[in-house]
Subunit: 423 residues, 2 copies
Amino acid sequence: MSIQNSNKELIIGLFGFGVVGGSLYKVLKDTPGLNARIKKVCIRNADKERDAPAALFTTDAAAILDDESINVIVELTSDADAAYHIIATALSRGKAVVTAGKSTVAAHLPEFIALQRQYGAPLLYEAACCASIPVIRNLEEYYDNDLLRCVRGIVNGSTNYVLTRMSRDGASFSDALQEAQQAGFAEADPALDITGADAANKLAILLTHAYGSTVQPGQVLYTGITNLHTADVAYGRQKGYDVKLVAHAGKLDDGRIAAFVLPTFVPQDSRLYGVANEYNGVEIESSLADRQFFYGKGAGGFPTASAVLSDLSALRYDYRYEYRKLQPEGAVHVSADYYIRVCISCNGLLQVRHSEFARIDEWVSNKQRCYISGIIQISRLAESDWWRQEGISLIAYLECIEQYGPEAVKAESDWIHEEVYAD
Amino acid sequence: MSIQNSNKELIIGLFGFGVVGGSLYKVLKDTPGLNARIKKVCIRNADKERDAPAALFTTDAAAILDDESINVIVELTSDADAAYHIIATALSRGKAVVTAGKSTVAAHLPEFIALQRQYGAPLLYEAACCASIPVIRNLEEYYDNDLLRCVRGIVNGSTNYVLTRMSRDGASFSDALQEAQQAGFAEADPALDITGADAANKLAILLTHAYGSTVQPGQVLYTGITNLHTADVAYGRQKGYDVKLVAHAGKLDDGRIAAFVLPTFVPQDSRLYGVANEYNGVEIESSLADRQFFYGKGAGGFPTASAVLSDLSALRYDYRYEYRKLQPEGAVHVSADYYIRVCISCNGLLQVRHSEFARIDEWVSNKQRCYISGIIQISRLAESDWWRQEGISLIAYLECIEQYGPEAVKAESDWIHEEVYAD
């Protein structure tokens, strides 16, 4: 039974009853206006005590997926493989799906788009990017590809919490991470967050709705915050910057797309500067609306449930992503052929071959670290991993991507050598 | 011919070809993906030269409203009465309508809602509130009435520009206003803006989508910025506040709604603090998503055209406001029975009867002005106009509305008398 034939009553089969699933259950009970009810919840461990009637639960996925009266699947498991099978099966049976599974969506989006088109059932995943912030919906609806200059966002709450602690309180990376875990902002296994992989997943999803690219997250240049030193953060603060893990997407002059996730020096006049702790923020620049900024909690049970609720609400009026910006397969779309300005922080200058830079603008050394700022080609970074080695960190400057063309690179390097022996 | 029957090609009849209309025309030409074209434009003055083919224009409204092939009316006139007739007629003929006319929508919303229901045609007006910021859509979709604690926003770009100049550069109100007019951020007749009437219109619209209230803008307590002194702004800055004209809506403990537009002392830790010049910002607080913040340009041709474009895009998938929070007519909904903390600025203490306050917390006088801060009941403000007299300004503190119950008022007043003779 499709949603359209059921007078839009949403009869939900829920997978997963963790923090988000539990929050959603509570909220749906309290908001009868939505005309939605959870018929069955599939969980892995039947013995765990839960704050809901036992009859609601099953460990048999088929009991939900085969139930024709269930017209909406809400997928909130923590298992990416299971999530893939649930989503693919549900779509191919014509059921609408709402998911918060960012890694699953990022990895399988082209297939999920094809399934939606083949079977006519919608897949919504606002919760997969920045939780409560309606960024996917707004990119999909508000910003035409041609008009969208760039999207830059702090999209991972755990790393932002860690960086805020490092920056404001001078905490070390490992102390800050431990604290984030204690505060519940980072997973027990924080690898996905701190390596930047989670942010790359979100960027891949955003790229689809911003520019119609369906790239695998692995095709996007990304790194996380594991190599950052407290000294790097302090160095940035001296210069008026805060270090944030920023996902960048922007349109290049040749029509191709620049996309990367890197620790970034954010200046005070940027809206992203004030995004602290577990919050997320996304700045969208378009030639019509100019700069817009969306800010809110990027993680947590209720903020994520809020996005799921909104997707459920949207199903009632048959909302679906139209993917109308989608580029034909094989179109060269994401480019590595552009330059960005970065700061390389290292223990000694010998660690870095200067020829990696197209231009070096500044070289600072103090007792703790050496800092080399200059222009570097993204393709050179993508092809090498010297800058990922222990002891080296790379921090981009938050600047317009398009400003370093070949001319800038050809210009004579303006070397500044400051030796600062601060204590 | 309805949109649904036409394979969603939008055939547009446009009323008005000013800054916004002209921008929209340009943008639609450049974005064929939208599958929308302007068939006819109704203008008042046929002789004015315009950057579009002459055959596109007519001065005969009926030529558009009677044309059955036109399925969407875009209303961008500057005449509120004309706008009302265009919108009402178009809806009653089953045509979808997109408008930026905030005063028209605010004044006639109940009737427009009834017409939408009777004839099945949608009316969208995202451009009527905060131009490019998708606040109506997000309130409508994202935040259930029960979960929405409050909405607070800087919704008028002209007054915000004036206040920014007064605050940052110490400009007088009249100088700042003149400058805003020269910069194109304020109308030649800025009365609607500076009296707060425009912000009240927007608040009335927001109240419908946030809480389901259909109040007339005149029923909402509002005032503008005409009485503000440069000294008031400076006094705020000394205390760490910036003065902004803020539209407030919040849910009270008894389920009723608090709503007012007042100049407001905004503290530095508020997201609204950084909203400067012609920008708008809206903070939405809900029990699920916590605090969210939307920021962008609140005025101007392209930002407004951007919102219109988004509404057009939404028509393609039959989007409409559902108004599902709407309260039954006659329901007591907006309350005046609550207290807020304000600062009264005046030339001499004799101007203000202390009995107007439920409690006075602080009294400061300096060479320029006297400042009395305390708790005051909204109903007392609504029933009197002493605080609107020349020489007196009232500035609210940006605080949680619910914190001043009867207990707070009964508490013994804690008088602080500071006489400050600064020069």
